[in-house]
């Protein structure tokens, strides 16, 4: 029999529905797996076992009560354990954002994306590790120590949602929530061999998602296959009156056909994504995956996203600019860390000086500079113009193809400490994921191979705004005929 921790979301829900397992069983299995592997991986910042067990018990009670009312539908995820990135607020549980400055902060509200899943019945086992305020690509920038990659514990899980990706890969939970501002769901999904969605900007509410780059931030989800991710995504998505940037457009049901058939689908391959610096095994695996799509009936076309090379500088002007304002609220006055001083400005300085880590300070300074009088037009203003061109690139490409397939990251997981002394090398990790955030289009990452060291390789599918269902359909067809998503880290 399959271990309870090996169950996918769909399998777990089926077992719950059939009465083969209880939510308590599942939750306890997750907590046991966490207890076993957390000392090695450090995927969590805060664990909430009592709360989780109480939720699980309540879910079981509800399911039992429903036996007498078979006509009343149960919440679709009733009793499913998940983990939540510590960037998304959960009422009553501290939300550190991987930062010392919020070490003691307990939000009195819950992020809409989390609330919708709670309403759907999930059990939250804990808050996962992240680069401080989601700024990073390795989860090494967490004030609570780095998370390690289950495939090779000397390596990073990617970031910033590294805790969630590692937790899903290590079977600590069948699914987890993350956030993606420049690749923070897709790159860790790729490094950890799991599937993850970065939704269209405006598709999933940002309410309760602690802001980093407000015009780029999205809330996404991880699971071990795309069908599971699709289920979570569908429940999280939709207009939220608390987030004025969510669009009031319907969220179509995601139909995943039983038979893999991609006839009529046009897959674009952007030439700008297959460049020098790309690890040969990554290119090979991605091209093979594209060949699989072709074998399933899709037609493959080369496309061009000519402004791709500007995405990195544009991102590192816009995101820090927004961050410099978003992080101004951490001043020690109302909540979180306060380092006392007799003088107000000294209190601000000490609080922020001691509360923020180096990368956060670096980005606040970058962003402040980019917005300063005399530099605004040359930096922030210019970046916004180029962002429009990048958006246009995608619009043009999506007139020719339905989806675009590309590597998620130039390399597989790197070693801890490998890039920490060189911020620029770290920034380059996101070169393939940033354009999607700048354009606001959705991206779905999933495993398509292992490199010579046995490290997962990820591919991403990008689609037009609000067409996530196409990405899920294509990736699901791929996963029906391949087994990369079934591979287990050797640690297990």
């Amino acid at each position: 029999m399959t271990a309870l921790t090996d169950l996918t979301v769909h399998q777990a829900l089926e077992a719950l529905a059939q009465g083969q397992v209880s939510s308590l069983d599942l939750t306890r299995a997750c907590l046991a797996q966490i207890e076993r592997l957390e000392p090695v991986l450090h995927a969590f910042i805060t664990l909430t076992p009592e709360r989780a067990l109480a939720q699980a018990e309540a879910a079981d009670a509800r399911r039992a009560a429903a036996r007498h009312h078979p006509d009343e539908p149960l919440p679709p995820l009733l009793g499913l354990p998940i983990a939540v990135k510590d960037i998304l607020a959960l009422e009553g549980v501290r939300c550190t954002c991987g930062s010392r400055i919020l070490e003691t902060f307990v939000p009195p509200y819950t992020a809409t994306a989390v609330q919708r899943l709670l309403d759907a019945g999930v059990v939250v086992v804990g808050k996962t590790n992240t680069d401080e305020f989601a700024m990073g690509s390795s989860t090494e920038n967490s004030a609570y120590g780095p998370t390690r990659n289950p495939w090779d514990t000397e390596r990073v899980p990617g970031g910033s949602s590294g805790g969630s990706a590692a937790a899903v890969a290590a079977r600590m939970v069948p699914a987890a929530l993350g956030t993606d501002t420049g690749g923070s769901v897709r790159q860790p999904a790729s490094f950890c061999g799991v599937s993850g969605i970065k939704p269209t900007y405006g598709r999933v509410s940002r309410y309760g998602l602690v802001a980093y780059g407000s015009s780029l931030d999205t809330a996404g989800a991880f699971a071990r296959n795309v069908a599971d991710v699709a289920l979570l995504f569908h429940l999280m998505a939709g207009h939220d009156p608390l987030d004025s940037t969510t669009l009031d457009v319907p969220v179509p049901p995601i139909e995943l056909p039983a038979e893999p058939d991609l006839r009529g689908l046009r897959v674009g391959v952007p030439r700008e994504y297959f460049i020098g610096g790309l690890q040969p095994e990554v290119e090979q695996a991605v091209r093979q995956a594209i060949a699989v799509l072709e074998a399933l009936g899709a037609s493959v076309h080369e496309v061009s996203l000519p402004h791709t090379e500007y995405a990195l500088p544009v991102y590192y002007l816009i995101a820090p600019a927004e961050a410099s304002a978003n992080l101004a609220r951490y001043d020690g006055v109302r909540y979180g860390l306060r380092v006392e001083s007799d003088a107000l400005w000294e209190m601000f300085r000490r609080t922020r000086g001691q509360g923020f880590g180096a990368e956060v300070k670096r980005r606040i300074m970058l962003g402040t500079y980019a917005l300063s009088a005399g530099y605004y037009e040359a930096y922030y203003g210019q970046a916004q113009k180029v962002r429009t061109l990048i958006k246009r690139d995608f619009e043009v490409a999506f007139e020719q193809v339905d989806v675009i397939a590309a590597p998620v990251a130039p390399t597989t997981a790197f070693r801890l400490g490998e890039h920490t002394e060189d911020p620029l090398a770290m920034y380059l990790e996101d070169v393939f994921t940033l354009p999607t955030n700048l354009a606001g289009v959705p991206g779905l990452a999933f495993p398509v191979g292992l490199d010579g060291r046995g490290l997962p390789i990820g591919m991403q599918l990008m689609g037009p705004h609000f067409r996530e269902e196409v990405l899920f359909r294509v990736a699901h067809a791929y996963q029906q005929v391949t087994d990369w998503h079934l591979r287990k880290p050797p640690l297990l």
Partner: protein, 490 residues
């Protein structure tokens, strides 16, 4: 050399909507509510929360912008204005910068020189900050307390062009704007509650010059008095410096009320760089033209239009008309009174409202809505006066009682027997009696001491308890005295 000031005003007016600009917290009276009782995660600037535009605040802003005859932007944009201060929870204020809601308006003002329009540069929406209270303990320890009740209250910033050239004009403009805001029902105008605040940009230049001098900005002027005194002080200070050949520093000033002088807060070099950029949490504010039309159609008659109408229709003096329209409720009281008594002269009613009622309101602190004598009650009284049934003095006494007790004129006059003796027959007997009882005075009068006529008048009046109709009495007295004179000569 003579100098002339050039002044522009920035007026910050709270919009008294039910909820705040970007969250559902109630807008409360900042001077009354317990600190930090109207606060939520959004207006406290907690992590991850987002602003949502209050549509009613936009509607209020549009009312003002339309009343100021502005061009309305169908697409406007919110921006972040970044600076650190403990009363600013997010570390930035959500405001409008490059693309304001409305621009290019005008507001008519009235001064001793007549009527003139002041150009409005822009009208935009933003959120208010919290309030700091600085505390010093008896032991000498100092600290500050933060109250966020006001943080996030909708604020309208109305910026004039540098179109004001005297303290009188500054006052007229500020008053006209306050009147307008109250007419539109968007702001109570309670200055002592800080719901309207001013900033003045002041420069001076040689009279007749068309160039602008170096300007200073005076911040945080929270009363008309502070505004006028600070502007007057600056005009005087800058004129003196210029006449001494000294330069004016471009700087931001504060107003020291106790010492009646301005003081430097920041020099040009220390000026804040607010690093404005478009607010990514809010989509562009789109205002449909149909909505604009609907709001325009729903505007009340505005103060300056009403003033013109009062002058033309009711023959009021410009000053009286200004006083009456200064407050919407007063103007409406007046007009209700006029309409209730078409045969009473409108100027007579105006005199009573501006005289007796204003005096009463000043003394009692009541607003016109609180008066126990409504417009119908007032004209009922004035009809007794007009018909001669009571005299001016009695009318004033009756009105006072009406205002005190809420009684109607008819009841008070009847129960006190205050009705005037207008009956010539009755007065004839009384006059004859007084003349008969005072033969010595009659003799003096007949010998030429004509001023005694007033004395006889007073005697008769006293005999009837002051209720004699003075015109009728005077005529009768003159008739009888003339008769005596004629008899003497014959």
């Amino acid at each position: 050399m003579e100098y002339e000031p050039v002044i522009g005003l920035e007026v910050h007016a709270e919009l008294q909507t039910r909820s705040k600009m970007f969250c559902a917290c109630p807008v409360v009276d900042a001077t009354q509510a317990e600190p930090n009782t109207a606060v939520c995660p959004v207006c406290a600037g907690m992590p991850g929360v987002l602003p949502v535009i209050n549509q009613r605040a936009v509607e209020y802003a549009l009312r003002v912008a339309l009343a100021l005859e502005c061009e309305i932007a169908t697409h406007s944009l919110f921006a972040r204005k970044n600076y650190f201060y403990p009363d600013l929870p997010k570390g930035y204020q959500i405001s409008q910068y490059e693309y304001p809601l409305a621009q290019h308006g005008r507001l008519p003002i009235f001064t001793s020189a007549g009527e003139r329009a002041v150009r409005i540069r822009r009208v935009h929406l933003e959120e208010d900050t919290g309030k700091l209270t600085h505390v010093t303990t008896p032991e000498g320890e100092t600290y500050s307390l933060v109250d966020l009740n006001r943080a996030g209250v909708p604020l309208l910033e109305i910026v004039s062009e540098p179109d004001l050239f005297s303290v009188e004009e500054v006052r007229a403009y500020a008053m006209a704007l306050r009147t307008l805001l109250r007419y539109l029902g968007v702001n109570s105008g309670d200055m002592e509650k800080g719901v309207i605040r001013f900033e003045a940009n002041v420069s001076v230049r040689p009279k007749g010059s068309s160039e602008l001098g170096t300007r200073v900005e005076i911040k945080n002027l929270n009363s008309f008095r502070a505004l006028e005194r600070a502007v007057a002080y600056e005009i005087e200070r800058q004129s003196r410096l210029l006449s001494q050949g000294q330069p004016i520093e471009q700087e931001t000033l504060g107003w020291d009320e106790a010492n009646a002088r301005t003081y430097s807060q920041r020099s040009k070099e220390e000026a804040h760089d607010y690093r404005y950029f478009p607010e990514p949490d809010l989509p562009p504010l789109v205002v449909e033209t149909a909505w604009i039309d609907e709001i325009r159609a729903g505007l009340p008659e505005l103060p300056h239009a009403r003033r013109q109408r009062f002058i033309q229709t009711y023959g009021l003096s410009p000053t009286d008309a200004s006083l009456l329209v200064g407050e919407r409720a007063v103007a409406e009281y007046y007009e209700t009174a006029v309409k209730a008594a078409p045969h009473l002269p409108p100027r007579m009613i105006a005199n009573w409202v501006l005289g007796e009622l204003f005096a009463w309101m000043n003394e009692s602190g009541e607003s016109i809505e609180q008066l126990k004598a409504g417009p119908e009650a007032l004209v009922e009284l004035l009809e007794y006066l007009q018909s001669g049934e009571i005299n001016q003095t009695t009318a004033k006494a009756v009105l006072l009682e009406m205002l005190q007790s809420g009684g109607r004129a008819a009841a008070i006059i009847n129960s006190r027997g205050l009705r005037q003796v207008s009956d010539a027959e009755a007065l004839r007997a009384l006059v004859a009696q007084v003349l008969a009882e005072n033969p010595a005075e009659v003799q003096s009068y007949l010998r030429g001491k004509e001023t005694l006529a007033h004395w006889f008048f007073g005697q008769v009046m006293r005999a009837v308890g002051g209720k004699a109709n003075p015109q009728v009495l005077r005529a009768e007295l003159e008739r009888q005295l003339a008769e005596l004179k004629a008899r003497q000569t014959s």
